[in-house]
């Protein structure tokens, strides 16, 4: 089974929570049957639940549209349904995605993205309809009566309830106050300008972020597809990893091995290798950029950064009503890209902590430039290593190289790039004045007056800081006029995982615990004495920590008997640290922590439920001061605070999940 498709009861519980939160009880009930029983046919779901066929189908439609569930394809009967854990979990990220897109492509694109997230996969025509309804009733247009039109509400409202599911929600569950995962509060703590203020802003300046024309909408969609944030939907994306594997392996056997089941090791290796290749090809095809009719050659260049959104494209659509060939395309959000962007954010945060905000900003610029060419964080189907080939041909695609000059061209003029560096380095570059004894420049340098060349060289100094850091945030590649740098994400991702494990231990056991983990990581399996030697401390001070960390599952112990009778006294007692195990344990615990937070939110909401109902009455909304007592207002405010705090924590836990799970494949440990 695919690594990412491994689930645990805790994850099942968490995802069921999220599904219920966003899509209501009916969908959640169907979902929980699948979560508890695994792969099922429709009939089996019906047997395991108390729902009737119509209800189940209704629930399944939602789940399928949102890609929370795989199905085994139409040609094989009967159809099996199976949960897509990764996508289900991704529900917690809805708000974060909006923020990520907004940072990169502006508010309008974020708006489109939010709608796509709400709607699940969508025909472009439906999306257009949501923004620019034709004069006739738009519902005629929708193909299977699902959740069309939600985008419209979304755009104007900025309200809290997940209106993408407003219709379906109502069926079983009238309670619409489900703000937790609905995205508007979502953003991670350290970034500025949260979506909370943003939705308020939207009210304030109505037209900012409003998409003015169909043309503009199409342009945004196209750009999002080109950059890999959105991909076209195909049936094959519904296959679970297991089904996909079976299908492609069969294809390999049929086409490459003449229909013979592989028996010898050589045949098996060929089969394995070619199946992986087929998986890669299939997946890469999902990211192909379709032709957009507008300009005739859509995928012209990925790298031109100065293309401006044309409000009135010369040969754009004349009216909203006209159909275009791409209208039939069904598109959806590409979840892999979200992880890439989250990785960028986290790396930037880490650099900010270590090297300061200017260096972090420069790193951010570099990372975002590379994002366009980075489809995913790691290769899930890597080419198996062939014997004798020591991976010598790790040629780096020039698209993945960045120079200081590239950064200098993009960097904002407002950024004081001289900050965070040794003053001597600045003088060396500007050749103006000297550094006085107190490390003050005798001739101050205004960064906005620097020449392009000086800027480049100063930025290169920051990049050197990045490369010298033990995490090696960047790596020197070659010189082509300027130093070309690339980023070894593999290694960095491992470091990130390690850092989070250390952070966890640090919070629980202080520096001593961290020291122990690092010692074990460096030296492998150690007995007590060797551990003491590495840490230069006495055994007595150490035992408690070893015990605690063992109980927490972050450190492993082993007893190797030395004498025949296996007396513990004579045995060798080894301690070691297994990064993969610690990683999985921490991930599992984090899922559980998230469940507890969701449960607490639910509990806190229950407590104020009567008050919330009252506050939502149409006569009260807008006249709160008049109808609610001071005590009630205070209680409402308190609830908002509590909810805010808990949600924020939830999103931070999600950041941790991303680091532990999404940036790197399974680690071969020790």
């Amino acid at each position: 089974m695919s690594y990412t498709q491994r689930e645990t009861p805790v994850l099942a519980e968490l995802c069921t929570f999220l599904v219920e939160d966003v899509y209501g009880e009916l969908a959640a009930r169907v979902y929980s049957v699948l979560a508890r029983h695994g792969r099922q046919t429709l009939a089996a779901v019906a047997r395991a639940s108390y729902l009737n066929g119509r209800q189940i189908k209704y629930g399944l439609v939602i789940l399928l549209q949102q890609h929370l569930v795989f199905h085994s394809g139409n040609d094989s009967q009967p159809t099996y349904y199976e949960i897509d854990w990764l996508n289900s979990y991704a529900l917690v990220r809805l708000g974060k995605v909006t923020k990520l897109v907004e940072d990169r492509f502006g508010r309008k694109a974020a708006n489109v993205m939010t709608n796509l997230l709400r709607l699940g996969h969508t025909r472009i025509a439906d999306l257009k309809e949501a923004y620019f309804p034709t004069e006739t009733d738009s519902d005629d247009d929708s193909d299977d009566g699902t959740v069309n039109g939600a985008g419209m509400k979304r755009k104007r409202g900025g309200g809290n309830e997940p209106n993408g599911s407003a219709k379906t929600n109502g069926v079983v569950n009238g309670d619409d106050v489900k703000p937790v995962v609905s995205g508007d509060h979502a953003h991670s703590g350290t970034m500025n300008g949260g979506p909370v203020e943003q939705s308020e802003q939207e009210h304030a300046e109505e037209d900012d972020g409003e998409i003015a024309s169909v043309d503009e909408l199409y342009e945004i969609i196209e750009r999002l597809i080109q950059r890999g944030w959105v991909r076209t939907m195909t049936e094959s994306q519904y296959l679970s990893p297991g089904d996909m594997h079976d299908m492609l392996q069969q294809e390999t056997i049929d086409q490459d091995l003449g229909g013979q089941q592989p028996t010898g090791t050589k045949d098996k290796a060929v089969c394995h290798k070619n199946t992986l290749e087929r998986k890669r090809n299939m997946r890469d095809k999902w990211l192909n950029v379709p032709r957009f009719s507008r300009r005739g050659k859509p995928d012209q260049d990925y790298s031109n950064p100065t293309k401006r959104v044309k409000i009135n494209g010369a040969n754009g659509y004349s009216s909203a009503g006209a159909a275009s060939p791409e209208d039939k395309l069904v598109i959806r959000v590409n979840p892999e890209k979200i992880a890439v962007a989250m990785r960028t954010e986290q790396l930037v945060q880490l650099v900010e902590q270590r090297l300061g905000h200017v260096t972090a900003h420069i790193y951010q610029t570099m990372l975002r430039m590379l994002e366009a060419n980075t489809a995913r964080c790691y290769e899930e189907y890597p080419e198996p290593p062939t014997a004798g080939d020591e991976g010598g041909d790790n040629q780096i695609d020039p698209k993945n190289l960045v120079t200081a000059r590239d950064v200098a061209k993009k960097i904002s003029r407002d950024l004081d790039i001289c900050e965070g560096l040794d003053p001597n380095a600045i003088v060396q570059i500007t050749r103006k004045g000297h550094v006085r004894s107190a490390n003050i420049l005798s001739q101050p340098t205004d960064p906005s007056t620097l020449s392009m060349d000086e800027k480049t060289r100063i930025i290169d100094k920051h990049i050197q800081l990045l490369s010298e850091d033990p995490t090696h945030f960047v790596t020197w590649h070659s010189r082509a006029g300027f130093s070309q740098w690339h980023i070894e994400f593999e290694e960095i991702a491992k470091q990130l995982i390690q850092t989070e494990i250390e952070n966890t231990i640090s919070a629980r056991k202080g520096t001593l615990g961290v020291k122990l983990i690092r010692a074990l990581r460096k030296k492998g399996k150690l007995d007590e004495r060797a551990t003491c030697n590495a840490m230069m401390m006495s055994a007595n001070d150490l035992r408690g920590i070893v015990n605690d960390l063992t109980v927490q599952g972050l450190v492993q112990t082993q007893e190797v008997p030395k004498v025949e009778r296996r007396e513990a006294k004579h045995s060798l007692h080894l301690i070691w640290y297994d990064r993969q195990r610690a990683r999985e344990k921490l991930l599992h615990d984090t899922y559980k922590g998230m469940v507890r937070i969701l449960q607490r939110i639910q509990f806190e909401r229950e407590k104020v439920q009567p008050l919330l109902s009252k506050a939502e009455r149409s006569d009260v909304v807008g006249n709160e001061e008049k109808w609610l007592s001071k005590g009630e207002l205070d209680a409402l405010r308190k609830w908002k605070e509590v909810q805010e705090k808990l949600s924020l924590q939830l999103f931070r836990e999600d950041d941790l999940v991303a680091t532990l799970r999404d940036f790197h494949g399974p680690l071969v440990s020790v």
Binding site: D103, F105, K307, G356, R508, K515, A534, T590
Partner: protein, 367 residues
Amino acid sequence: MAAPMAPSMVPKEEEPSAVDLANNEAGTPADALYDKCAQRSQGTVFFQRDLSNMQVAETMAELTMLLQELCDRHLMKLMTFEGEPCWKLRSRAEADKLRRLTPDERLLYHHIDQVQAEGIWSKALRARTNVTQQVLTKCLKSLESKDLVQSVMSVKFPNRKMYLLKHLRPSEDIAGGPWQSEGDFDTALIETISGIVAQHIENETCIKVPGNWNDYERPDRTADMAQKKAQVQGIRDIEDAPAVKPYHQPRDPNSSKIVHKNNPQYPTSASVAEWLNSKEILRGKTVREDDMEQLLEMMVLDGRLEKISGTNYRTVLTAIDTKVYNGFVDAPCGNCPVFDLCGDEGEISARTCVYFGQWLETQSEEV
């Protein structure tokens, strides 16, 4: 007599071989051979071809005889290296002492000599030599009083007395390095020295920059605001990152921060050891490169230093003071003593949780 096996052929420090002319037995060919050997640097190991090249003995047989004589007089010690016999000199004074030993004492001395700096536990010594406990105790005392052997408490096994030759320095395995005393790590000493070393490395690799180090004329804030406003109102390029300029504190000349030095000389364990020894902070002790490496590596584990490349160290800097850990451990559950007992419902659950109650300042359900 069994050939004592040299544990290793690394020449150990020996006492200077004082050629005592007063006690001169010179004149015999054996002494001539001894004197010739003594001219070489001390600790040298001689193979048969080296000795015959000295041309003291006329024939092979004579050489063998001479060597036998020297060995009998304890002036030479026979060893083997990869199956080949070889010899090492003893000082005349030492040989003199050895000659006066009783056979038991000599036997014990021989075994202690074999283990060199590793030392041998008295019990193991008895097992190898088969002498009675009384004899053992008596002989060891006498050897110690004659300044031939010394005893040290083992660091590895705190209740074992280890014996080794007087002139040898006990190996780290039994005595520990400069950081240990009485068989345990000297925490206070380590703390002090690592503090001093940390400061030294910081001076070498970092630079303190005052807040006003680059005091250029800042553009007028109102102009700034106007520009910003224009930016907001203008149609933004879809690809431009929003020009969010994070707020950073104005430059205060009294505040300062520490940044990495431009092109520093990164210290190594050798350079730091040399520096520390030159400061003579550790009275009487010198710190070897190995000892320093142990200390520096420990400081890396501590998060005080970081390793830049194979052998270079520098100070760990953090640009932000506030310590956040991660989303999980900053929430109550991440640090909860009853995490594993906590369930979806029941006595310990998110509803009844006191930790959440404290954290959120809300009421939890009573159980």
